[in-house]
């Protein structure tokens, strides 16, 4: 098994799917000639040519809508948003069109489109480029949302997304692009809606997604080494569909839950997860559920403060100890 980066894993997924299905088209700003603003699509133009790998103008409502329209006729566009923050200028297309057309047509139409790109803070670029819209988008029935945290999951989830017949929005993280991990060369998918227990433990369940998984794993290590606590880390991987059973099984084992995400707290993904746990595992809980989210403000520019605005290892450890007290 090769050790490759999260970025290379995404690229491998696209390369595999471009080879497998001639209806797959990569489209977005700077994806072709520029080789990708974050180099995720590097080399794909050279390998597959301009019909399959297409540069678009800076025109998100236009090109995302175009991709959705093409998907209705059976093309399988994989659209790159340079940042998920830019999805906000294409919101009507992403929500009203991709998300509603199947429903409003009584099931006559489906939109097999993938929109992918980084949706994260922590990169010192200020509020407009640091949105994490997974909760906003996942709140719309008709849309699927996944947030890979590791290279293995990035490849497997993106391949599953491209083969899926519904709109799937893949939210990556620029800070993870250089992270390395073992990734099989052969064909595999990570099915949507299957969480992954990234660390097994007995005393506390941490539920996280995206980069918060990596932060939580580091915190779990400290909790083990310095406090003798055995922490289980559940990586959601997929926000909608949501693997409720894996979350519940873990909480039934540890009886304590801490929810960690890089979203702002109000109506974050973890608000839904907290509701799930209290509604279906209330009697299993030995302590109230706690959450660690980004500090509730537009993303601050100052790098030193932004690092503290996002959930960091210290804050996760501190909050975990409160749940365990």
């Amino acid at each position: 098994m090769a050790v490759i980066s999260y970025r290379e894993a995404l690229r491998a997924a696209m390369r595999d799917e471009l080879k497998r299905d001639d209806k797959v088209v990569i489209m977005g700003e700077e994806v072709a000639q520029f080789n990708g603003a974050y180099k995720v699509t590097e080399g794909l133009l050279k390998e597959f040519g301009p019909k399959r790998v297409v540069d678009t103008p800076i025109s998100e409502a236009g090109f995302i809508g175009l991709g959705i329209g093409a998907s209705m006729l059976g093309i399988r566009p994989v659209m790159e948003l340079m940042f998920w923050s830019f999805s906000y200028v294409a919101f009507d297309q992403i929500v009203n069109n991709a998300g509603n057309i199947r429903y409003m047509s009584g099931g006559l139409i489906n939109c097999p489109i993938v929109i992918r790109g980084p949706g994260n803070g922590g990169t010192n670029v200020g509020a407009t480029h640091s949105h994490t819209p997974e909760a906003i988008l996942a709140s719309h029935p008709g849309i699927k949302v996944v947030c890979p945290a590791t290279p293995y999951d990035a490849k497997g989830l993106l391949k599953a997304a491209i083969r899926d017949n519904d709109p799937v929005y893949v939210m990556e993280n620029t800070i993870l692009y250089n992270d390395k991990g073992e990734v099989p060369d052969e064909d595999y998918i990570v099915p949507l809606g299957v969480a992954d227990v990234k660390r097994v433990g007995t005393d506390l369940t941490i539920v996280a997604h995206g980069r918060a998984v990596i932060t939580s794993l580091k915190a779990a290590e400290i909790l083990e080494q310095e406090h003798g606590v055995s922490v289980e880390v559940v990586d959601l991987r997929s926000i909608r569909p949501l693997d409720e059973e894996t979350i519940l099984a873990s909480v039934r084992k540890t009886h304590r839950a801490l929810l960690v995400e890089e979203n702002k707290p109000f109506c974050g993904v973890d608000a839904q997860v907290a509701y799930l746990i209290q509604s279906r595992a209330f009697d299993e809980l030995d302590a109230p559920i706690h959450r660690v989210s980004s500090i509730d403000a537009p993303q601050i520019y100052c790098k030193r403060m932004e690092d503290q605005q996002l959930p960091d290892v210290n804050r996760v450890v501190r909050e975990a100890l409160k749940v365990l007290a």
Partner: protein, 368 residues
């Protein structure tokens, strides 16, 4: 103050009656007698369907917004009657006429308006969201101009698959100020996509006249020049003219894979929707003038009577049949069942509706 209007209207708009100068255009000369009768029948069916809707709306059986097409029939009829196997259409919320033109039945259309499970979208779409993908009709879209990028994408797909086809993107005159429309223009021109953008200019974006909504009013199609696209203006009261000029754009799409913007001057007799009391922004005399002098269905009827394609008897028969069909559809819509509570959560995801060996996703996707 709006800038002075630079009027670029088709000369023929001044015509009140008399033979259409486009009757002998190849697009029309090629029509057989039966084709012409069929086209007139379709226009009459749209007219009577819409007029029947008014009564059902007034009875309180149609909810939400009902945007009628009465007065604009020649636009959908003239354009859509030219289309072939690989030509697609998409439009905004004034979508009934297009649906009937592509061959949707009055029953499924009427039942959708009353929210019945027998409706074209099983009661899930309503008046603004008709769809018939099997007839290349991709909606029926509620947000002004939001369909323009989608239609451009349909044309992209046609071109990608190497087919000789097109997509007609219909929109109202209010849509031309939406950013999504301009983005679609740019992409269509930049990538040489076989799109025909059809601006159905009925003079008012809801209750706001062009002079109050649009910089450089008078010719909306001309904006195409900013994107290097061909454009034309059309008298939308004359179905022959609509066909003749649309045929040029269609050929451009098919032969050269190039987009066109067509502005078709038309008029709606009723308010923006039935929720519009239609009292604040235009006077009754204006509506009367159009009804009496420029009615597209009457003008085409007169044309065909002059050509001796129609007789008064045949015309009467066609109109009576269309009325009877609309009456029957109203009864069908009345007697059809509602969707059930269980139906509310169907047709959200393809994967949930088609569980099988090919579906891989797991987990909870519909939440309680």
């Amino acid at each position: 103050m709006a800038k002075p209007a630079v009027l670029t209207h088709p000369e023929s708009l001044k015509r009140l009656a008399g033979p259409s100068e486009y009757a002998k255009d190849p697009a029309n000369a090629s029509m057989s007698k039966a084709d012409k009768i069929a086209l007139y029948t379709k226009m009459a069916r749209i007219r009577h369907f819409e007029q029947r809707c008014i009564r059902i709306y007034q009875q309180g059986k149609i909810g939400g917004f009902l945007h009628l097409y009465v007065g604009q029939e020649a636009v959908a009829a003239g354009t859509i009657s030219l289309l072939g196997k690989h030509d697609h259409i998409i439009t905004g919320y004034r979508d009934h006429g297009h649906g009937l033109m592509v061959g949707m039945g009055m029953n499924e259309c009427m039942a959708e308006l009353t929210g019945r499970v027998t409706g074209c979208s099983q009661g899930k779409g309503g008046s603004m969201h008709y769809f018939a993908p099997d007839k290349n009709y991709w909606g029926g879209h509620g947000i002004v101009g939001g369909q323009a990028p989608l239609g451009t994408g349909l044309a992209y797909a046609v071109k990608y698959m190497g087919l000789k086809g097109s997509c007609f993107v219909f929109m109202g005159d209010g849509a031309v100020n939406q950013g999504a429309v301009h983005e679609a223009y740019n992409l269509a021109a930049l990538w040489d996509l076989p799109v025909v953008f059809v601006i159905e200019n009925n003079g008012y974006s809801m209750g706001t006249s062009q002079e109050r909504s649009t910089a450089h009013p008078g010719c909306l199609a001309k904006r195409a020049e900013g994107y290097g696209m061909a454009w034309d203006v059309i008298n939308g009261h004359d179905v022959y003219e609509v066909r003749a000029k649309t045929a040029v754009a269609l050929k451009r799409a098919h032969e050269e894979s190039k987009p066109t913007v067509l502005e078709i001057f038309t008029y709606r007799y009723f308010g923006h929707s039935m929720a519009d009391p239609d009292k604040t922004y235009r006077d009754k005399e204006e509506i009367k003038g159009y009804r009496e002098n420029k009615d597209p269905v009457l003008l085409f009827e007169q044309e065909l009577l002059r050509e001796k394609v129609l007789t008064p008897e045949l015309s009467q028969k066609i109109n009576e049949a269309a009325m009877a069909e609309a009456d029957k559809a109203a009864i069908f819509a009345d007697e059809s069942p509602d969707p059930t509570v269980a139906d509310i959560t169907k047709h959200i995801y393809w994967e949930e509706d088609n569980r099988g060996p090919d579906t891989t996703s797991r987990g909870t996707i519909i939440f309680e």
